[in-house]
Amino acid sequence: MQPAAKKAKKVNLKVNFAGGEMSEKEEKERYANRKNCGRRACEGLNVHLEKRALWEDLGTRSGSSRFEFERVAEVEAYRYMFAPPSARCSALGARLEEEEGMIACEGLTGKLNKESLIMDTGEARVRLDMSGVGAWSCFPGQVVRARGSMEEGVLRVEEMVAPTARAPRSNASEARRYASMQNHKPLAVWCAAGPYTTNDNLDFLPLNDLLEAVSTQAPDVLVLCGPFVDEKHPLPLKIGDDFVDPFTLFAVKVAWRLADSPPTKIVLVPSPTDAIAHSVFPQPPLSDRKDPKFATWDQDLRVGTLDLPAHVACVSNPAVFRINEIVVGVATDVLFDLASEEKSKGMGDAPRVPRLAGHLLAQRSFYPLVPAVSMPLDLGRLDSLRMPPLDVLLVPSKLAVFATPVDHVVVVNPGPLAKGAYGGAFAQLTIHPLTTLSSSPSEEEEEAVLHKVPERTRVDIVRI
């Protein structure tokens, strides 16, 4: 064989479906060679509002904080699989108030449809006939009130009422105090979700690029949702040539890189597919699981140590926290399960994903589905899934990215930061202070004011 022919054969060409050809080298650097960096991944929200200025131009005295950060609701560490059936049953029953029932599917397996709708009131199960209702949207586990007439054990539904979401309020003087803390300038809150590394390496390049942007633009808060060490990552966990445990990988590739982020407040949220987190939903905050018996290759780093810098806050999944008056809820990935189970009729052209997010708000639950679909859900902990009134709901999901107002809440799906061998996206929220928009000087100082966050929040979802 001619040497030239040999050489040509060695260049391993892989035909990609789109018609082009990619050499192995190019393919290895698909993330590095991306061309859509910084582009918008979706329309966003209120893009006419201004972005926050650079940190230096905010007029914040050094050392003083621009905001208060407070955990509102958090899941504590618990031992799972210890909830007896009676506890799980009563937890389900506790979701229902009088005259309420829970939507269920007649078959034990299979999806909901209009023939299999059943309402479980805790005492009885009634088949529902929805032919009299023009438009409906249901999923198993949904708590509703139905009104209609009973005929031969079937409830002919005339009207179906789902609960409604509540809006958070603050009193005016508090709101004014927060606005002056911010020097009447907006807050920048960024949110990204895992996986943070492409599936062809463990270099966490997208995370590096995100942290680079964080260090130059210094958002006030950076919410990082899991999975940090994705249990579905196809490669064996290695640093260099050494095999390592997930904790060590997290410490070296993630935690150490968060060290020089101040003034940005970093919040970490676990995910059920995280190799370093409690595997059952709801999840307590990430924490060390030290085992003094083992040392890693690095003598100073004990196995099971996350080695996070002190300024990083670990919250639970789901979690609710407050940034000044803004109440933020975050949960991963609940929207996807809802998308696979929700069935509707007659909803017209109304977009579906805001409706799904609306279900979370209306049900006042971070995971209203019963039975759970993809989540390993501990029913004994249903209490900690309760959703208080929110201003911002962060729901990182595999579904298409979006930022949309639902009722009085801004709902954002930043999408994963890495998608296969390519980069994903992350969300930048710019929340303007309350007073700049609602200037009503006649207002009583102690009167509770609505936050109206959808009117004063700009959301950009940007490709990494």
Binding site: C105, M347, P376, K398
Partner: protein, 259 residues
């Protein structure tokens, strides 16, 4: 950290189990002889209406009986074709008297119902009978052909994923649980989708069950009755509506509804 091993309140069959189930599809399928003879053979699996069949039932008239020490071979005809049916002598495990009685009744020109396993040997499809019995009520013959039509129509019009759970109630042929109804009523449940969107979504639900889902070009290729621009628009709309999600890159999508 394994999702499957989590709370354990709902046991969902793993993908492996589902695949095994598909392979061990033991539903008894009524067939005409022509359908049996025309079964497609791929990797030792026989496919009728694109569905794996192994246990089948046929009804027909005995044309000839060949009798040897070890087996009876019947040539059975049902006006659609002629087929060879082997019934082995399994001494000891049968009530020999009943068998002998039956066999005496099953001479030439008798209508019989055969339940057995369809096999392909050297490109020839044969039936190895578990049971052969004479038909006493000719309504059974009518019923058999009606059921054959029903099952075939049901299989070809609905998705293979629902047909794996098929197995009609033998007496009525009416589906038993909500799951299958759901698949058939999908159109009603996604009332706001256009027919092109439904077609595209169904293609993803049926064929894009792997981790990566399907590449958009493969969908355009498969759905050649729809223009590429329409397929792309449908995929965009379905993704925005949360029916599809992109997997490894922006060109691969998967249905959120697939199990």
């Amino acid at each position: 950290m394994m999702q499957d091993s989590g709370g354990g309140f709902v046991s969902q069959p793993s993908q492996e189990q589902q695949q095994q189930e598909k392979r061990r599809n033991s539903a008894l399928v009524p067939l005409t002889i022509k359908m049996a003879l025309n079964a497609q053979v791929s990797d030792d699996i026989l496919l009728v209406d694109d569905r794996e069949v192994s246990q089948v039932r046929i009804c027909g008239n005995i044309m000839r009986v060949d009798q040897t020490e070890t087996k009876y071979v019947y040539f059975i005809e049902d006006q659609t074709g002629l087929m060879e049916v082997t019934h082995w002598n399994n001494a000891g495990d049968e009530d020999l008297n009943t068998l002998r009685d039956r066999r005496e009744k099953m001479a030439q020109r008798t209508y019989v119902a055969v339940v057995g396993q369809l096999k392909s040997y050297e490109a020839r499809v044969t039936l190895s009978a578990y049971d052969i019995r004479p038909i006493e009520d000719m309504n059974e013959l009518t019923h058999h052909f009606l059921e054959t039509i029903y099952v075939s129509a049901k299989t070809t019009s609905s998705s293979p994923s629902s047909s794996s759970s098929y197995a009609p109630n033998a007496q009525t042929g009416v589906p038993m649980d909500g799951a299958r109804e759901g698949d058939n009523n999908n159109n009603n449940n996604n009332g706001s989708l256009t027919s092109i969107q439904l077609q595209v979504l169904e293609h993803y639900s049926l064929h894009g069950t792997g981790d990566e889902g399907l590449h958009i070009e493969s969908v355009i290729y498969a759905l050649n009755t729809i223009s590429p621009a329409d397929v792309k628009a449908a995929v965009d709309a379905l993704t925005n509506e949360g029916h599809l999600y992109s997997t490894v890159d922006d060109d691969h999508h998967k249905s959120t509804d697939s199990e």
